[in-house]
């Protein structure tokens, strides 16, 4: 028996959320005796990088080193996973929740006749039925969910388990699959992606700005603080709607849902739809000049003050810490 983990990689490295999924699988297997944890990587990625997946808890990585899989084509990825799943005789597949992961897992669930649960926040409990806790209503509630299919696919939310780093190197096995051409019917024509930035859904710290920042020319202050903290930058919906910031930075109900250790909100009022995207953060800091801004009710720490005065001081204070 084994637990399979779908790992995503970008710019030559395995994504941190995928490594967390590997650690989740390892904890699951230790708890329930499900055997080996095997990760699957699709497309071109360096062997040394895959070996390191072992540190998070995998004993083996199956590498489908086919460059046609470099692009995240949903059908092709789900077909490749279904084949590997059959080969290794797994009964459970774990993946990190992501826009590609969700889409791939859904098709895979139909192929394998598996029960798919998304936004999983804890390890399953199997005392009576296979029960998983998942986040619903955009972080406003949880549902204990019984999976009634023999095969299970769990899409794990960030921070469901701690990332393990003390495992041994993984053995890498390169395999070749026969994936029918019809799975490549979708063609990716180009990609437009910020290089080198900390990715928002993966970030441990996020510094986010709202309409209180007054204009795009003031974002340097947000970026300076983010840089000092090694953080990703985010924004409220109106900020991306007016084009001050790119759409992929928009946090909230209708944007990216983040789950960092630290979320710093500057000049954001804290509308319920914005909070829906940040309520899984471990610690929230709010900087707003209005002491009655609703965001303070959802915050752990707050400063009532003008962002333009507070931000540079905060950046200096973080610098001084080092």
């Amino acid at each position: 028996m084994s637990v399979l983990v779908y790992i995503e990689h970008a710019d030559g490295s395995v994504k941190k959320n995928s490594l967390e999924a590997v650690s989740y699988a390892k904890a699951l297997s230790d708890k329930q005796g499900e055997g080996e944890v095997i990760a699957v990587a699709l497309g071109s990625v360096a062997q040394e990088e895959l070996v390191k997946v072992g540190h998070a808890g995998a004993s083996k990585v199956v590498h489908v080193n086919d460059e046609k899989l470099n692009a995240g084509i949903i059908q092709a990825h789900s077909e490749a996973l279904a084949q590997v799943y059959g080969k290794v005789g797994a009964k459970t597949l774990i993946l990190a929740k992501s826009s590609l992961g969700d889409a791939v897992a859904a098709r895979l669930a139909v192929k394998l006749n598996a029960g798919l649960v998304s936004n999983v926040v804890e390890l399953p409990v199997t005392a009576s039925g296979y029960k998983v806790k998942r986040s619903i209503y955009t972080g406003k509630a949880f549902a204990e969910t019984i999976v009634n299919k023999e095969h299970k696919i769990l899409a794990v939310k960030k921070n469901a388990v701690d990332l393990k780093t003390d495992g041994s190197d993984a053995a890498v096995e390169t395999v070749t699959l026969d994936i029918h051409a019809e799975n490549f019917a979708t063609k990716i024509t180009s990609t437009d992606k910020a290089k080198g930035d900390v990715l928002l859904p993966e970030a441990d710290i996020v510094v986010s700005g709202g309409r209180g920042m007054k204009g795009p020319e003031n974002w340097g202050m947000i970026e300076d603080l983010a840089k000092e903290l090694g953080a990703a930058t985010g924004c409220s919906k109106p900020v991306s709607d007016i084009g001050w910031r790119p759409h992929h930075e928009h946090v909230g109900q209708t944007g990216v849902k983040v789950a960092p250790s630290l979320y710093i909100a500057v000049g954001i009022s804290g509308a319920i739809q914005h909070l829906a995207g940040v309520n899984s953060s471990k610690c929230i800091v709010v900087i707003n000049k209005d002491a009655d801004a609703p965001f303070f009710k959802a915050a752990d720490y707050g400063i009532v003050g003008d962002a333009f005065e507070v931000l540079p001081k905060l950046t200096e204070a973080v610098k001084a810490l080092k």
Binding site: I74, S99, D102, G115, E144, A194, D241, A298, D300, D306
Partner: protein
């Protein structure tokens, strides 16, 4: 050209989420239901495509009779007809099976959905239906243009976007800024009353999951305020108390 838009009937985004009956049921008391915001984007784009291409536009919901006002609203926004599958939407697989059955009967060229529902946040019904029908499913789609039988799309990826192309038929899970939300006008509301709304029974009872109980997150403690002239104190607290630096 035939377009199908699948819509959810979900609590308004400002709703206070509560449960009743020993935390086994969603408490609808005082809650207003709306078209899912992502489905609303899909619908808005579908109405534009309908006008541009002279397409027919059907909206579908899997839900009990209480969802009909939500379907009527979609008709008022511009759909031609509606289908309601008369069943409690037990889980994603249950819903996907019903949608796939309707799609097989009616041969839609384009099926548009939201990227995810805002109640159960699955983000999976489009992929499931795509696999059941053997056609591409793409999500989250933030731009969609039709050129003959080719669909040109932009898809959001972490840190940016990706441009892609595929042939009809296909399924798109939509999000902003694919189109601006449309508000129904008076004429739309009047005509929606007489547009056809067909009620069909479910074709399958299969599910993969069922919810036993719901929980609310623990209440947040009070905010600790730090003086704006003592920013260094905040950094200290973040390091030593919250341990997040």
């Amino acid at each position: 050209m035939k377009i199908l838009v699948c819509i959810t009937h979900v609590p308004d985004t400002t709703s206070k989420i509560q449960f009743t009956e020993n935390n086994t049921k969603f408490d609808k008391n005082g809650v207003q239901f709306i078209i899912g915001p992502y489905d609303d984007y899909a619908l808005a784009r579908a109405v534009e495509l309908k006008e541009q291409l002279g397409a027919s536009l059907t909206v579908l919901n899997v839900g009990e009779a209480e969802t009909e006002p939500t379907l009527r609203k979609a008709l008022a926004i511009g759909a031609d007809d509606a289908i309601r599958i008369n069943a409690f939407p037990k889980d994603s697989l249950f819903v996907a099976n019903q949608i796939a059955a309707i799609a097989k009967q009616n041969n839609y060229d384009l099926i548009m959905m939201g990227r995810e529902s805002i109640d159960f946040n699955g983000g999976m019904v489009h992929g499931m239906v795509g696999e059941m029908l053997g056609i591409p499913s793409i999500s989250p789609v933030m731009k969609l243009e039709i050129d003959g039988d080719t669909v040109k799309m932009a898809r959001e990826i972490e840190g940016g976007k990706e441009y892609l192309e595929a042939k009809l038929p296909l399924i798109a899970g939509c999000q902003e800024p694919i189109a601006e939300w449309k508000i129904p006008n008076m004429r739309g509301i009047m005509s929606a009353r007489t547009k056809p709304l067909q009620v069909l029974e479910p074709v399958s009872d299969e599910t993969a999951t069922n919810v036993t109980t719901y929980q609310l997150p623990p209440a947040k403690g009070a905010v600790k305020l730090i003086d704006k002239d003592n920013v260094a104190e905040l950094v200290k607290l973040l390091k030593n108390e919250a341990k997040v630096l």
